[in-house]
Amino acid sequence: MGQIKLNKVTKSFGDVAVIPPLDLTIEDGEFTVFVGPSGCGKSTLLRLIAGLEDVSSGHVEIDGVDATDVPPAKRGLAMVFQSYALYPHMSVRKNIAFPMKMAGVTADEQNRRISAAAEALNLTDYLDRRPGQLSGGQRQRVAIGRAIVREPGAFLFDEPLSNLDAALRVGMRLEISELHERLKTTMIYVTHDQVEAMTMADKIVVLRAGLIEQVGSPLELYHTPCNEFVAGFIGSPRMNLIKGAEAAKHNAATIGIRPEHTAVSMTEGLWKGVVGVAEHLGSDTFLHVHGVPGCDPMTVRVDGELPVRHGDTIWMTPQADKLHRFDAEGLRID
């Protein structure tokens, strides 16, 4: 069980309102990702759910019960921290056992759960080491193991992969996703990395300055971003946003087109530009094109290899049905 509901929750530090009144429901078993630029309040929101911070007003409900005044220890949630927050003076086994020790779980049960978690996380050979002797990825798995054995109502992840190098990050991302498939427990995951959000989430909550910009599945956000901010934030490379005369042709203040939705030709097209940097990855080619009015540079992605170089002139044509239109306030026009 693990339905979490935020009811007109606000948080302010002194006079600074970090989170204006906010409503959000996270269904049981859902993998929800809070994503947004740094300082958007996503970590604060997670800490409010955890109980590590008090809400300034409003209520936090867990499984329909008001948990606003319940201390973190009693909320039945487990958290994985950015720094892993392992206890450096305890062995891996003791680290994983700690929450069970606090809960008074019998020794036999503790051992059973530790073995199961260690097996699932490939930690069996490391149980007697100290965290200091482990690699970053292993530490991360210990932190997850410590969370699993509690059998919590929900897992809270606070940017858990940001201290890992790129290769490990992809691996851990998969492991966490698999863990969710297996446990079917509610997970709330905070990240500033939209790739993590897109690949892992059932539901993405895009935050900016404490406000929810949009809530939806990854593909909903990709296909129908409700405003310019979400349009620019979700998707990689970023959506090209074009202002001015070109946008006015479509009765919009701004139009957006994703790099992958633009056809490139050496001879003809709607927009003409000069290639600045060309990134040849083999599988794709990314071009940063200068000279398109209202959007400089414009990024386009071409499948496979396209033999263009710095200084070449090219033509680009957006796919008409993939154009996004936004009004002067930045809101989507359908």
């Binding site: 955890a50 590590l52 201390p71 973190p72 220890a73 009693k74 949630l77 487990a78 958290m79 921290f81 950015q82 720094s83 927050a85 392992l86 206890y87 450096p88 003076h89 305890m90 700690f98 929450p99 606090m102 809960a103 410590r146 509690r150």
Partner: protein, 276 residues
């Protein structure tokens, strides 16, 4: 600085440092040497450095003259007791300041430190009266309390700086793992802060061991520690260099040995955590 330093430079540095080091250490060395001389050799002119008849008679004489072991025991109880009591009171306070800081935390810390600046002599008589009132004049418990109070600000300050280096996330993790406040401090914070607590303990044992205002003024016969033991040699009858040296050596040896063995921890403790 992975660069080769000329051998000559290194030799010069070594010579200079050793000379200055020995010069600074010399008064202690001289005291220890003199303690093994006869009184006549102790004041010989010119002074004798090593070629004297080594003797232990001064130590025997000092033991005979005063009950060294009682002074020693008093020093141990007073320095150890006041430090341990101080740490028990300071750990929770330092936890609060390091992990639940408020706008006033810094003010409280500075205020605590400023109580150390209150001149002891300004309140000597009132304390003296209070001690009589509570019947703790010339008792170990009285000195334990006073030395605990005068060192408490330093203990709090040191523990605070050590605690601040422990990432708050680890304590939050403990909280999420279901630990109560007591369990958090007992199972997570304290074990992690052991090196810092050890430094604090050592430094304050040394400070309490060497404290010479309250220990001289609030004790007479029963609770007098080694500071008083040695002060008794400042009277004219004590003007025997060899015996004075023996007594001095006996008074400083325990702390000197302790200090040398724990040099590493002390150096970090000595900086009161304020210098990395």
């Amino acid at each position: 600085m992975a660069r080769n330093v000329t051998q000559r430079r290194k030799i010069l540095n070594t010579a200079a440092a050793w000379t200055i080091g020995l010069l600074i250490f010399f008064p202690i060395l001289w005291t220890i040497l003199t303690s093994f001389k006869t009184e006549a050799q102790a004041i010989a002119d010119p002074p004798i450095f090593l070629a004297f008849d080594w003797t232990l008679e001064n130590y025997g004489a000092v033991m005979e003259r005063s009950n060294y072991s009682r002074f020693l025991w008093n020093s141990i109880v007073i320095a150890g007791g006041s430090t341990i009591l101080g740490i028990l009171i300071a750990v929770p306070a330092a936890w609060s300041m390091a992990f639940v800081p408020s706008k006033r935390t810094k003010d409280i810390l500075l205020w605590m430190l400023s109580t150390k600046m209150l001149p002891a002599v300004g309140v000597l008589y009132p304390i003296y009266l209070l001690f009589i009132q509570f019947g703790i004049l010339d008792t170990k418990i009285g000195l334990v309390i006073v030395l605990m109070l005068i060192n408490l600000p330093i203990i709090v300050w040191m523990l605070y700086t050590y605690f601040k280096e422990i990432p708050g996330e680890i304590l939050e993790a403990a909280r999420m793992d279901g630990a109560s406040l007591k369990e958090e401090v007992l199972y997570v914070l304290t074990p992690m802060a052991i090196p810092g607590i050890a430094s604090t303990l050592l430094l304050n044992v040394i400070l309490a061991w060497n404290e010479a205002f309250w220990t001289l003024n609030l004790t007479a016969a029963k609770a007098a520690p080694l500071t008083a033991f040695i002060a008794s040699y400042s009277s004219p009858e004590g003007l025997f260099y060899a015996k004075l040296s023996a007594a001095s050596t006996m008074a400083i040896a325990p702390i000197l040995v302790l200090g040398w063995f724990s040099q590493k921890q002390l150096v970090s403790g000595l900086t009161f955590g304020a210098v990395k």
